[in-house]
Symmetry: C2
Subunit: 366 residues, 2 copies
Amino acid sequence: MFENRLRSLRSKFGGFEVDTVWIIQPENRRYLSGFRASDGQLTESSGSLFISLDQALLLTDSRYTTQAEHEAPGFEVITHKQGAVNALSEIFDRLHSRRLGFEAGYLIWEVYQKAQEKASQHSPPVELIPLSSMVEDMREIKEPQEVETLSRSAQLISDVLAKLIEELSPGQVEKDMAWRIETLIRQHGADGPAFPPIVASGPNSALPHAVPTSKRLEKGEPVILDVGAIVDGYCSDMTRTVFLGEPTEDLKEIYRIVREAQLTAIELVRPDMETTEADSLAREIIKKAGFGNFFGHSLGHGIGLATHESPAVGPLKPKVLQEGMVFTIEPGIYLPGKGGVRLEQMVTLEHRRARVLTGNENFYSF
Amino acid sequence: MFENRLRSLRSKFGGFEVDTVWIIQPENRRYLSGFRASDGQLTESSGSLFISLDQALLLTDSRYTTQAEHEAPGFEVITHKQGAVNALSEIFDRLHSRRLGFEAGYLIWEVYQKAQEKASQHSPPVELIPLSSMVEDMREIKEPQEVETLSRSAQLISDVLAKLIEELSPGQVEKDMAWRIETLIRQHGADGPAFPPIVASGPNSALPHAVPTSKRLEKGEPVILDVGAIVDGYCSDMTRTVFLGEPTEDLKEIYRIVREAQLTAIELVRPDMETTEADSLAREIIKKAGFGNFFGHSLGHGIGLATHESPAVGPLKPKVLQEGMVFTIEPGIYLPGKGGVRLEQMVTLEHRRARVLTGNENFYSF
């Protein structure tokens, strides 16, 4: 698996005009090598990969040497003592690098400056070449085994959400429910939550990125539950909006519209369609119903080793959808002060159409 | 509080030769404004601050507008629709910026390039000035209220760890114990864990950054418990090494040495001492005992809104310790294949010496 990925990466070297690539982004690192370490903080790297046409090195520090050797057997592990940048010269020598590609969308400015200095002082000098989305583009199309793992992750979170919804009742506190979801995610055997669960009730449900509060759930209010798990490294992401008791007519109306928009997008999305067109399948329905201004986010996003990854499925930046992609379809309508409805499924494109990976339970038909 | 911090920040503008600063690092953002949103991923910003001598703007997108207005009343909230970089021109006009300081240790290369382009095309053109540690340096010295919150965070995690140690017995699984710690942290009322708990037993305890595995705890083995909580935004971090039953003599020996190194550093560390000297207080004891090669990390690190923040207390990069700093003292000895011992306390410097913020329980005197 990793050999195939490296082969595919190396086949792009010519197009990008590089002879070596430097990979620091944690999911890209894991995707290419199997090394699972996360970075404690954004500025605390647990390692980086240096890949040339005939060598593959994993540079890390002594905290991670054993783990790296175990998890990334296809890579030669090198342990630095004085920071990654100070090991660059040795790396350039070993790989005979002259043109080093770096992740332009991830490398920090200050690290770039230091690396640039080392590279220009090296003999022979090494040129730094910014790479945009080189590995991210590879990760867009999932291998069958990845789709299978994503499907398990989606099934697990569907089970968790179904269980949670069974337990839900008025009087419960948003924060407690969020914690209950995290507990269920662990009990179901996931590595952990993919992101902090969202439990947003009543007016809070009108905030697309609500953080769970100490507010209690009340009868008839919408409760948005947006949850995800990590299973063998792969993320899931799904949303249901539930009502504890009979909702008002206007909430029923927006629910019907959001669900219709979602079902339409799932039914009609196709490989070779542009992401912007997929987005508009749902958006047009919401617009025609008069709620276009209350659907402020994209229809969905790619999902895999990261919860949010390429391709974005929104009204901007068209990209062509392809077989093997896995992404979310999550239209929403948010009425400030009143409440919101969002419904999110994970789908994969196969046999020329979308297959839903998350469960089909817990939708209303008002 | 925030007014004082802004005043202090602005007093540095002259020295850095800037008229505006752009703050994107989440803890710096929170420190200066009160805005608590976290960034889902490094490449997903929930907002940034633009501060000039007479104005303070918080630029965010519609997902966070309400939250930003609520949490950062001292800032004027501006909602962008097309990404932060595309709003720069408007910001420059409003603030009459000519020299914009940015966080060189946090801004991503690609974002810098785009911002640089906008800045140079602006009329009048704006120059981008890299800032190193401008806000990080301010955060090093804690205000009395911050010390109080850190003390509560330290007390909470001490209580959690004491409870966990009571419950510990051979046969339990590392991963389950890690989850139990997360549960206890929530039950004690924290915002959440400061980092994923480390539970490392037997040979795993020889890996300073061990991830909990499905290994069971065995009698006589060392178990390293390294845990932290977040209370009102402030992190705690503490470590105990416990033995379930009688350890071997060599483990007792390294325990005694690590504890002596820790107590010596706590006793002798002073304001005006360099961090490298503080590190050597403990390191010399471990070296003299013949285990210098088995203590591969720094003695400690500053702690506050982030678990790891300035100052680093290690053998490199000297910095002068000052009253009001809060940092960890965590010597360790790791014998590959056999096991390790690490002991970690949080201290603050006040009245010319160190006061321990974490509990004094659960140490052995062999």
